[in-house]
């Protein structure tokens, strides 16, 4: 009995009897220059504008003021319990511990336990200005995927040097993490749906509030 | 005729079978305008049909006979002009495909050559003759329906409206949802009549909303469809082909 694998591959090869060039790249050239930056006048301002357009909060502060900005964000969102990734900046952690109950994810919290936590604070990997997208590669300062998903409020700290013009540059920066097998999550505003009469509703299953702290 | 934009230019008129049979005023108008601009118009008498009704219904073998006849009829002309976006699109986009299926390399070559020399009336005026003012006079309020083939397959762009805007006395008013198909679609109107009627009804409603005296298009099949609904509904708006607007002069009005 032939396996499904062998049969499907045989069908594919039969279907492609008209293709006589074995090299895919030579057979079908792609007229595209990958990874090009967009010539945006002010990339960081563009990111701010696009994230605000999604209805998310974004503030820009000097690096030294990040702990205060995080505390202000948690206060504004009325979060009294917080879960933090293990590798989060120590100064940030100290400031957060002063205003909220910090739940450790060690041993890992169950989904239900995470669901009872008000907020999560993470760093980020890359931000893409033109589409207002923040990418996490779930490194130690961002934590496992469930942390930035189940709690209803997400404070995300992005460094200005992580901001690129648009998706092509962003993919190029993220490619090493993807090739290394790391999971990657792109976040563009809070969760949303347009499933009822295509009317946009902010906030469904993912964190309903996204608060971005942009650090110079 | 010296000094005229088309002075001495030999042009083959592809009247199209529909206009030849049902709306002869349209190809007559093309002749009038082209001769007014100095062209020498010829009507190759062997011509029939681009074959799109057969091609688009799936009867490729029947359509191939049209392709053979078409390339034979129009051989030797540098400029082939037709007052129909869909017929021009069929010649340009479908004849080579049909020819290839026959395996007849000579037919493929002939079809490619004919396709490259075939232009919509508005393309010929604007691109070849370089004119938008053709000396027409049409003192009416008109709206323009950009037929699908003209707009999307031939990419006529603003050529038709530039020609209309240059007509003396003509007031051009925008058509709401202009880019939506009128619902004709050849055999679509017969095979899926309910949807075709729903589309035609919406198009006719938009035409009436403009308050225009005339709805103009470069495609008589669309006009037959839209005009059929307008007439049935008792609307006062009349249909007229773009070529007939351009043919109309002060002398006609007098």
């Amino acid at each position: 009995m032939t396996t499904a694998r062998a049969e499907i591959l045989a069908r594919v090869r039969r279907a492609l009897a008209d293709v006589d060039e074995p090299d895919p790249v030579r057979d079908v050239p792609v007229d595209w220059e990958y990874g090009r930056p967009l010539s945006t006048a002010d990339v960081v301002a563009d990111l701010v504008e696009k994230i605000e357009d999604y209805g998310a909060r974004i503030v820009r502060v000097p690096a030294a003021a990040v702990p205060d900005a995080i505390v202000a964000a948690l206060t504004e969102m009325e979060a009294s319990s917080v879960v933090l990734p293990p590798g989060l900046d120590g100064a940030w952690r100290a400031a957060i511990e002063a205003v909220a109950a910090v739940t450790a994810d060690e041993p890992p919290l169950t989904a239900s336990e995470l669901n009872a936590v008000d907020a999560v604070v993470t760093a980020a990997a890359v931000a893409m200005a033109d589409s207002g997208t923040i990418a996490l590669d779930h490194g130690p300062d961002q934590g496992r995927r469930a942390l930035s998903l189940v709690p209803d409020r997400h404070v995300c700290v992005v460094r200005v040097d992580q901001v690129v013009s648009a998706v092509p540059e962003g993919v190029a920066r993220l490619a090493p993490a993807i090739r290394a097998g790391r999971p990657v999550t792109w976040i563009s505003g809070g969760s949303a749906t347009s499933d009822i009469e295509l009317a946009r509703v902010e906030g469904v299953h993912g964190p309903r509030q996204l608060y971005v702290v942009l650090a110079d | 005729m010296l000094g005229l934009p088309g002075a001495g230019l030999r042009v083959a008129l592809f009247a199209t079978c529909i206009a030849d049979t049902l709306t002869p005023d349209t190809p007559k108008a093309v002749v009038t305008v082209l001769e007014r601009l100095g062209c020498v118009v010829e009507f190759p008498p062997g011509q029939t049909c681009c074959g799109q009704i057969m091609t688009n219904t799936g009867y490729f073998d029947a359509a191939v006979a049209s392709v053979r006849n078409h390339v034979r009829s129009f051989a030797g002309y540098d400029h082939i002009v037709a007052p129909s976006g869909s017929c021009v699109a069929s010649v340009r986009d479908q004849h080579v495909m049909l020819a290839r299926r026959t395996g007849d390399a000579r037919l493929v070559e002939q079809a490619s050559q004919t396709a490259a020399r075939t232009l919509d009336f508005t393309e010929f005026l604007v691109d070849v003759l370089g004119v938008t003012d053709v000396g027409a006079y049409f003192p009416h309020r008109v709206t323009y329906h950009p037929s699908c083939h003209g707009a999307r397959f031939l990419r006529l762009g603003d050529r038709p409206t530039r020609l209309l805007q240059a007509v003396e006395g003509l007031e051009l008013v925008p058509l709401p949802a202009a880019d939506q198909c009128c619902g004709f679609g050849g055999t679509f109107s017969i095979k899926i009549p309910d949807v075709s009627i729903a589309m035609a009804t919406d198009k006719a409603r938009h035409v009436v909303e403009t308050g225009a005296d005339f709805v103009v298009a470069g495609e008589n099949s669309c006009l037959m469809n839209i005009g059929g609904v307008l007439h049935r509904d008792g609307a006062a708006v009349r249909t007229v082909h773009l070529a007939e607007v351009l043919a109309h002069t002060r002398a006609d009005a007098a």
Binding site: I8, A15, D31, S191, V204 | M54
Partner: protein
Amino acid sequence: MSPNSAPAQRRTPAPPPGTWLGMPAFPKAAREQLQRAEQRQNLARATTHIRGKRAERAAEVADWEELRTAAAQIKTRVARHLDTYLVQAEEAMTAAGITVHWARDAAEANRIVGEIALAKGVDEVVKIKSMVTQEIDLNEHLESIGVAAWETDLAELIVQLGHDRPSHILVPAIHRNRREVREIFAEEMGRYGTPAPPTMTDDPEELAEAARAHLRAKFLRAEMAVSGANFLIAETGTVVIVESEGNGRMCLTLPETLVSVIGIEKILPTVADLEVFLTLLPRSSTGERMNPYTSLWTGVTPGDGPQDLHVVLLDNGRTDVLADPEGRAALRCIRCSACLNICPVYERVGGHAYGSPYPGPIGAILNPQLRGVASEVDQALPYASSLCGACNDVCPVRIPFTDILVHLRHKVVEHKTEHHPTAEQAAFSAIGWVMADGRNLAKAQLASRAGGAVLGDRWLGNRVIGRLPLPIAGRWLRARDVDAPPAQTFRAWWAARTPAAPPVDGSADAATEDRA
């Protein structure tokens, strides 16, 4: 059996009775759908809105047309070398800890997913909205083996709880308005879990809140999830899913086991190719610069997300599409639904008329290729278009819809006339004969003018339907009047005008007739 009186042993809401292919063919189905006034309003409002958003977001991207070209080329490259890329993707996924399965058809894919569920001992799974699992009708297979499959996308939830079928690729409940959604949630949610709040109004925010509460319990306890995929990267074995609500992330992150059913055409060669598709897809689809969430995973990450990952690579007719060089461009489709939203036919009849979870222009070219043209439903689909070409222009992967529609019409004609001639074929052969020569046309024109003379009036309308010889004329004249044929053809006018020109036989006859 009414859909609301499903047998008690069912675990999930019963879909409507019947099958996609058991539905009436497009012309009849379209007539039925056109009569639903409320649905027509819902569709017109929604498609008009999303069309505008798409156009605005596409216009923001300076090199949009170049991106479309690149996307078409990348997908063409994949299709023409699919065996190479499939093997590469399989190797990469296996190395990353994913168990790869292959399924020749729907039954095989369903069996694989079902066996995983039974082996895991689960009696329910949570699902991310996926076209491919609609295509194979996975939910009903799982139901039949005692496993409840819960849709977690808001629109899919509306469809599932409403005992309904999806009618749109992106917004499966596009045919429903907020009032109908409120009724469905109020009636059904309590039967299958957390009920809707009694105070819930038809405000979309409150409806979304009810869905959040209803599904949260299911997410938190879920042990297994099922997804499709938007892209599968051959280079790394990375699976990519784009979504909006976060239900996808819940399914991809919380359960221990994740099974992704992926059509074999979903491959992209490299990670870098994502820049093209993640720019085109959200703007073409929801008309947003970016969808709220995109998840990329490359096998198992210890301590993060599902530890038991499966991918089912599905053929189910795709290799048949691939085998047709004229039709295989349909496999480029990235399921954005821009072609549905722009289509004047879809806008008026909605998705249920197409006899498949793939409606609209993409359904019209994909279903008859995936399933063949043996059924009446699939024979009708290539004709479910006025060939207006609006879909060609919005497609982010430049699928030549109208060319493929015409090609498939030819295939349908060949299939229908393979064993015996048809009346339509005879009619078109006659037209073909007329149009093969100017003399033939001139003779036919004489006959048509004779017909016009008999009818004797400039406008033909209601009054004359019964007097016309062809039944098809009635379809035209039902809503439209038509000009009677003119007294003189152009051909005849020309011959009379230029007597010096060498006449062909037919036109000479015609000219004589005119003078008479």
